[in-house]
Amino acid sequence: MELLNTIFVAPFIDMFSAPDFLIQVLWEGFVSGILYALLALGFVLIFKASGVFNFAQGIMVVFAALTLVGVYALLQSLGLSPAFAAWISLFLTIGVMGILALSIERVVLRKLVNQPDIILFMATIGLTYFLIGFGELVFGGEPQKMIASELGIPSGSTSFDVFSGVVILEHADITAAIVAAVLVVCLGFFFSKTRIGRALRAVADDHQAALSVGISLNQIWVIVWFAAGIVALATGIMWGAKSDVSFALQIIALKALPVLVLGGFTSIPGAIVGGLIIGFGEKIFEIYWGGLIGGGTESWFAYVIALVFLLFRPQGLFGEKIIDRI
């Protein structure tokens, strides 16, 4: 009875006796959910267009963020004003991500056309290792500070009085939410309204049919990896504004997997909703139940949600139902 009480009753009493704290927890969950969603968005883009599960998305986030910081430091030493240098380095970083996309397509993907998924997956893991080594060599292994204020990301916080308590919203988090929303809208527009977007969807549907109507697969892949690179850059900036940019961040990339399982591998709204569910779920579980079993549950709770979810709905919330041909 005692045990049942601590598991099923006490946490809810805690929740409702301090609603301001609950709202704060929900907000924190929302913020980390947004970041997971941004991360998952990069995966979805590439998976949609090429069927490759891009394990390297995590390291691309780190790489983009570190490039931004590195280029900024370089420009700063040339004597440019901070804001100007920050924006120039942002554009230069976008250029670097473009070059990265181009070289990945040339060196890796083009050679591996028609291989089974697992081989392509492994190739992206190889790419991850390469980028880790390369990044550490160029930028050093130490955590770097993100140039958040130079880019114009507000750093203060606003507090609201709710339910006789205080809820604190960080401005950086609000910016992250807005950026994520803008990115999703832009990508949605890009996919449904533009010529290239339609070509992307055609490639996602059927490689051969797309080729036969004159869509260049190679070109599409470069574009998609470039788009994923830009999403990675946005994720890197937002994540870096919360904490420093370090290589430890790329482990968080694995968190995108449960998000994708929840949302479906091919759905952009799914990535957002999945990210939010994971974000809310793991924060609430950690705060209200985590203490019962020793804390630190955030490392695995997302996967367990996904595991349970998979048993009931293997194709995810918004995914297409896979029908196997025998």
């Binding site: 081989i119 390469f130 482990i251 996967y303 025998i326």
Partner: protein
């Protein structure tokens, strides 16, 4: 020229279905065994044994385990590091509970604990496949490593949170603990790995292995032909985790001496998956080659600049080696997606007709 099967007639079914049907292969294996059992212990120094041979053998065993699951049954798993951990912690707990039991027995029994845990986390495989299965095995990975950290009972509530190898004797020789010499460690590991390789190679040739391969190639057809997916998949998970568990127990007791959770984290799982893919999916031989590649290459890379008389800052060398391994993985996937084992096979085919282009 010297690698010909001319004149080697098989007169019985046993001879025809032997593991090594060609005489030269049998001679080759004998030579390898002599090298492994005599030359390496006699000539190798402690550094060579500790940094190359022992980890190579241990990871080979883990790679064979994952190969059974991924290569033979077609279920991708990223939880092998955690299953190694289950074996290691089980062995540690049993060694503290039953100090008088022979350590080799404990190492093997700890595999069963790992097998049970593996079967439990293999249950979702009955409904899902591919990358979805990766998620469930990652759930196993992160949940288990969390448990190793947070359940004090598992590491006997010691302050460091690490488990260490308890000194044990076999036939009055120290085989574990600080007094054990690397040579004895090496020989014990070698024996266990060879016996388990032999068992694995027979398992995959037998009824159970065939049912695994049928599930891999086409699960629905296999089901129609009377293979029960439940038994086939769960037995693959059990055997695979058993191998990983034994490898993990050996890792703590015969190699590292003491291990923390970091030894069993997701990077370890990735490394084992690399070994399997680079070596060749669905090949026992490939597991050896992949493990050799991943374990020995970084050691060689670290030694390389000194050998060529260059001076490179050690931390930079670490980065170069990560980079080179990543690039090599991509290179091998492009050149031969079926792994080193396939390259070896092609080489043998060429050798059979050499010096002529065709036979």
């Amino acid at each position: 020229m010297f690698y010909r099967e001319t004149g080697q007639f098989k007169t019985s079914y046993e001879a025809d279905s032997a593991v090594f049907p060609i005489l030269q292969d049998r001679i080759g294996i004998m030579i390898m065994l002599v090298i492994a059992f005599v030359a390496v212990p006699l000539l190798g120094n402690d550094f060579f044994l500790n940094t190359m041979m022992i980890p190579f053998l241990i990871f080979t065993l883990a790679a064979i385990g994952l190969n059974i699951l991924t290569g033979y049954t077609g279920q991708i798993s990223l939880g092998s590091g955690a299953f190694m951990g289950v074996g290691a912690y089980a062995c540690y707990k049993m060694a503290t509970f039953f100090p008088e039991v022979n350590l080799i027995v404990l190492v093997l029994v700890s595999g069963f604990f790992s097998a049970i845990v593996g079967m439990f986390f293999g249950l979702p495989s009955l409904r899902i496949k591919g990358f979805y299965l990766v998620v469930t095995t990652l759930a196993a990975q992160f949940f288990l490593t969390w448990s190793f950290n947070h359940i004090g009972w598992l590491y006997n509530y010691n302050d460091s949170g690490a488990i260490d190898n308890l000194p044990r004797k076999l036939f009055n020789i120290w085989i574990s603990g600080p007094n054990a010499s690397p040579v004895t460690n090496y020989l014990v590991v070698l024996c266990i790995v060879l016996v388990m390789t032999w068992i694995a190679s027979n398992l995959v040739r037998g009824r159970i292995g065939r049912s695994w391969m049928m599930i891999r190639d086409m699960d629905i057809a296999a089901e129609l032909m009377g293979v029960r997916p439940l038994y086939a998949k769960l037995s693959a998970f059990a055997v695979s985790s058993f191998y990983c568990g034994v490898a993990g127990a050996m890792m703590v007791f015969f190699w590292l001496g003491s291990a923390e959770v970091e030894s069993f984290d997701e990077n370890q799982s990735f490394l084992i998956l690399f070994m399997v893919i680079l070596g060749g999916l669905g090949s026992i031989m490939g597991s050896y080659m992949g493990a050799a590649f991943i374990v020995i290459l970084p050691v060689l890379l670290r030694a390389a600049p000194e050998f060529f008389g260059l001076s490179v800052n050690p931390t930079n060398m670490e980065h170069y080696s990560t980079m080179i391994i990543g690039a090599l993985i991509i290179f091998f996937l492009i050149v031969e997606p079926h792994g080193l084992a396939r390259l070896w096979q092609i080489a043998k085919e060429k050798l059979r007709t050499w010096p002529f282009p065709y036979s």
